[in-house]
């Protein structure tokens, strides 16, 4: 179980070094994305001027304050509470997000499915589990909102955050077919019958 500090963006080779059970801390840059952003980008053909190549995206829609433009708030938004949403809803977008935009890492909660695992294998990527609901803590790892696109979808815009010490995050899925979520689910499935029997529900 290794710990990796990653200066974003990273190469596919670097992403392939990550193994399930490893921990990761991200530095420099992180993008925020979620349902509406992905629907518009891939179902409705919208393109972003932001360059996601080699980067990590986090499944989020933040709480922000509107403030005058300054060095600390180059696009007029200040972080207030930035957390993470359930990833599985966005399963069908991972392949295109990696192929078209070159995204390398996905940060989220709850894990993702077989299509995402296949995309990680094909392009070199990983899923980093963050603790869902721990948004106040997560916000302390974010320095500022550097850029934004598709803000007509607010708060489901495409956000670029400047970050420091973003983690530790747990590698939940890797590019070698490994998924902690599948491992846990198999264990749960093997206990299902005994649990149902114990409450007379078989």
């Amino acid at each position: 179980m290794a710990h990796h500090t990653l200066e974003m963006p990273i190469t596919p080779e670097k992403a392939r070094e990550l193994r399930i059970g490893d921990t990761v801390t991200l530095e420099r840059t992180l993008y925020g994305i979620r349902d509406a952003t992905l629907i518009h980008m891939f179902d409705r053909g919208r393109r972003t001027r932001l360059d996601l190549k080699g980067h990590a995206v986090i499944h989020t829609a933040p709480n922000v304050h509107r403030v005058p433009i300054s060095n600390e708030a180059p696009v007029g938004y200040k972080p207030f509470c930035i957390g993470t949403t359930t990833s599985m809803r966005m399963e069908r977008f991972t392949h295109d997000l990696m192929q078209r935009e070159g995204v390398r890492l996905i940060i989220g909660k709850g894990g993702m499915g077989p299509d995402t695992l296949a995309a990680f294998k094909e392009f070199g990527g990983a899923y980093l589990a963050i603790v869902g609901g721990a948004a106040a803590l997560e916000t302390t790892w974010i320095d500022c909102i550097e850029d934004i696109d598709m803000d007509d979808l607010h708060p489901e815009s495409l956000w670029r955050f400047a970050i420091h010490g973003f983690g530790p995050l747990l590698v939940g899925m890797d590019s070698h077919g490994g998924s902690l979520y599948s491992d846990i689910q198999q264990g749960v499935a093997s206990r299902r019958e005994a649990v149902l029997k114990s409450i007379g529900a078989m």
Binding site: N63, T86, G110, G111, I184, V188, R192, L196, I199
Partner: protein, 291 residues
């Protein structure tokens, strides 16, 4: 007692923000219990992070989770309380909207077809307002629940058959918890509705999911099932965030209602670990806030 509508608006604004920032004492105590019982190292680390987050939110005066939820206001009206119902509903709505705009909360509410976000946490029939009555003299209480959606998406209804019995009810609950895994942000409170019509059954599940930890079902048979299921879900090994461990749920809560001779309805509604709620009680002596 005459209700001051302007005061209700202020209270409803305050309640939304307070609910988002301060976790109720019973949930904090629930975390302590889970930390004590957790056997998985990963599970323990995740629980520790959740507990740290509660402290960070309090220290930095931040909200606990970025999901501001679907706003729900539960109003309970005691005896000898006077107000105009339509004005009360409008005041609750204004309070909810003002909390969102004045405190820069993320509006998480959209039109279901156009997906347009008014940026006010309000829309058609939202905030959700429930009004009930009780025996308390000159008392009105308003409970605010920002219902987070990772867990709200873990909602199910099954109109089972009478011949399926309670056995199928229990199996339904366990299987839904297994299907949901880490998606609903465990450790959770699993709310279970039993009986009623389809809509009442679903509502019962929500009441159960948002009931304080340590409370039990007022129906003896329902209480037995919740004790049994509370133990069973934590034998599954789903654990915090679905990454393994004992702490799948703080508890399973059950609420029951009488049902039709042909029906055996069961509903599941999940509450995530950020089990937020806040309450204001209005009496002639003033307003008190609690969780």
């Amino acid at each position: 007692m005459q209700i001051d509508i302007k005061e209700v608006e202020e209270v409803c604004k305050t309640l939304y923000v307070q609910a988002l920032k301060m976790l109720p004492a019973d949930i904090k105590a629930g975390f302590k219990q889970l930390v004590r019982d957790e056997t998985s190292a990963t599970g323990r680390t995740i629980l520790d992070t959740m507990v740290e987050n509660i402290a960070v939110a309090e220290r930095t005066n931040n909200i606990l989770c970025q999901d501001t939820g679907i706003p729900i206001y539960n109003v309970t009206v005691g005896r000898d309380v006077q107000f105009e119902g339509a004005d009360l509903k409008a005041a609750i709505r204004r309070g909810c909207e003002r909390a969102t705009t004045e405190c820069s909360l993320r509006s998480s509410v959209v039109h279901p077809i156009t997906r347009k976000n008014n940026q006010t946490s309000s829309g058609i029939r939202v905030p959700i307002i429930h009004v009930d009555f009780d025996e308390r003299p000159e008392t009105m209480s308003i409970e605010m629940i920002p219902k987070g959606s990772g867990s709200e998406n873990g909602s199910f209804l099954q109109m089972l058959l009478p011949s399926d019995g309670i056995k199928a009810v229990k199996r339904f609950v366990i299987e839904r918890v297994i299907d949901l895994g880490g998606r609903v942000c465990p450790p959770t409170i699993v709310g279970v509705g039993l009986g009623g019509t389809s809509d009442l059954c679903m509502h019962l599940a929500k009441i159960a999911a948002t009931r304080p930890l340590g409370s039990t079902c007022s129906d003896e048979e329902g209480a037995k099932i919740e004790a049994e299921l509370s133990q069973a879900v934590n034998e599954l090994g789903i654990g915090p965030q679905g990454l393994g461990g004992r702490s799948t749920s703080f508890a399973v809560h059950v609420e029951v209602a009488a049902t039709h001779i042909t029906q055996n309805p069961v509903a599941v509604n999940i509450q995530c670990h950020s089990a937020r709620r806040a309450r204001a009680t209005i009496t002639p002596g003033g307003i008190t806030f609690s969780a």
